[in-house]
Each structure stands twice: as C-alpha cells, then as structure tokens.
C-alpha cells in the first residue's frame, strides 16, 4: 500500500488518466480542433508516464554541481535517459500538432466545415 502514496505513483496515475481522457476525446468528439486537442493531451499524458518511470526515490535532478558531487552521483540522481527521450518527444509533438492543424486548415477550406461527419469520402 505504501508504494501507492508516492509522488511518482501519483504522477503516473495522472498521466495514465490523461491518456485515457485524450483517447476518449479522439474517438468521441466531432469537431476537428477538439480531436487535435485530444491528440495533444494524449501526448502530454504519455510523457508524464515515461518521466515518472525515471524517478528514483529521494533523488535529485541529474545535474552535477555543489549539491551532487561526481563521486556519489550514481546514488543521488534520477535516470537521465528517459528524460532525454521525453525532451525529444515534446519537440516532435509540437511538429506533429502543427502538421495536423495545417491539415485541418486545408480541409476547412475545401468544405467550410469543422464537423468530422461532413468528410465522408473515406466512410466505411
């Protein structure tokens, strides 16, 4: 029970629920802009989950200075690898969001509508 009352578990739960909300937004909303917002929420949630996995109990940031000496760095810092990957992921997330929004603008110009139901060329 005690492992459930820690910062990393609460952060992971938050990220998980944020992912669920994002997926729900993607599959249930009809407005194209709301769907893009759902994608960006999913992105944020996934990043929070990955960073919470990198946290080691009672650790500090992986920066070596007066607070963390080089000799005892390995016992004091959090895992730097997932943090570096999330850094990459956030920047790519912005690129993907900009791409989706440009596509939304383009679609809007064709039909003058933001409803997903009016784009039924690929309906199955």
């Amino acid at each position: 029970m005690t492992q459930y009352l820690s910062v990393e578990f609460i952060a992971m739960l938050t990220g998980f629920l944020l992912m669920v909300i994002g997926v729900w937004g993607i599959i249930s909303q009809k407005n194209l802009l709301k769907i893009v917002i759902g994608f960006s929420l999913f992105d944020t949630g996934l990043n929070i989950v990955i960073v919470s996995l990198s946290y080691v109990k009672n650790s500090t940031a992986p920066i070596l200075d007066k607070a963390v000496e080089v000799s005892d760095a390995a016992s004091k810092i959090a895992d730097p690898v997932p943090q570096a990957l999330v850094l990459t992921s956030i920047v790519i997330g912005l690129g993907v969001t900009a791409l989706m929004l440009a596509y939304v603008m383009r679609m809007f110009r064709e039909k003058k509508s933001l409803e997903i139901n009016s784009y039924n060329e690929l309906k199955w």
């Binding site: 009352l5 910062v7 802009l33 917002i37 960006s40 929070i48 943090q83 997330g93 003058k112």
Partner: protein
C-alpha cells in the same frame, strides 16, 4: 508535502483536461489544453526533471497554444 502538491496538481490537470475536451467554447478549450501543459511542467519539476519542465513550459504550453489560436483565427476569418 510534495505528495500533497502532486495530488493537487494531478486533480487540476484532470479537471482542465475534461474542460479541454467538453467545453462548448473552443477558445476556452484551447486555453485549458495549454494550462494542462503548464501544470504538467510543475509536475515534471517534482519528478526531478528540470530540463523536461523547461521544454514543456516553453514548447508544450507556449508555442502550441499560439499555433492553435492562429488556426482558429484563420477559420473564424474565412467564416464570415
């Protein structure tokens, strides 16, 4: 102490995410999704990741909100 702060941040993030999905006014929804990024960056700081927090605050909540508003403005302009 940090656990209480983390619980508070988690609740705020989830409420804002619901607002971003369900609010009728699209402007409020975009602001809410930007605020999710802002509170998530504080959560990253609690998880000992200041690099990620800086990235999320400047890119996730700053620039992406601006791009959303650009597109919204463009769509409103060509509507009337």
């Amino acid at each position: 102490m940090s656990i209480i702060l983390a619980i508070f941040l988690g609740l705020v993030i989830l409420i804002l995410a619901f607002a971003a999905i369900y609010h009728k006014n699209i402007k409020v929804a975009i602001i809410a999704s930007g605020a999710v990024g802002l509170f998530a960056s504080v959560l990253y700081l609690l998880l000992a990741a200041p690099d990620v927090a800086l990235t999320e605050a400047s890119i996730g909540s700053g620039l992406s909100t601006i791009i959303f508003f650009y597109v919204l403005n463009k769509i409103r302009q060509s509507n009337d």
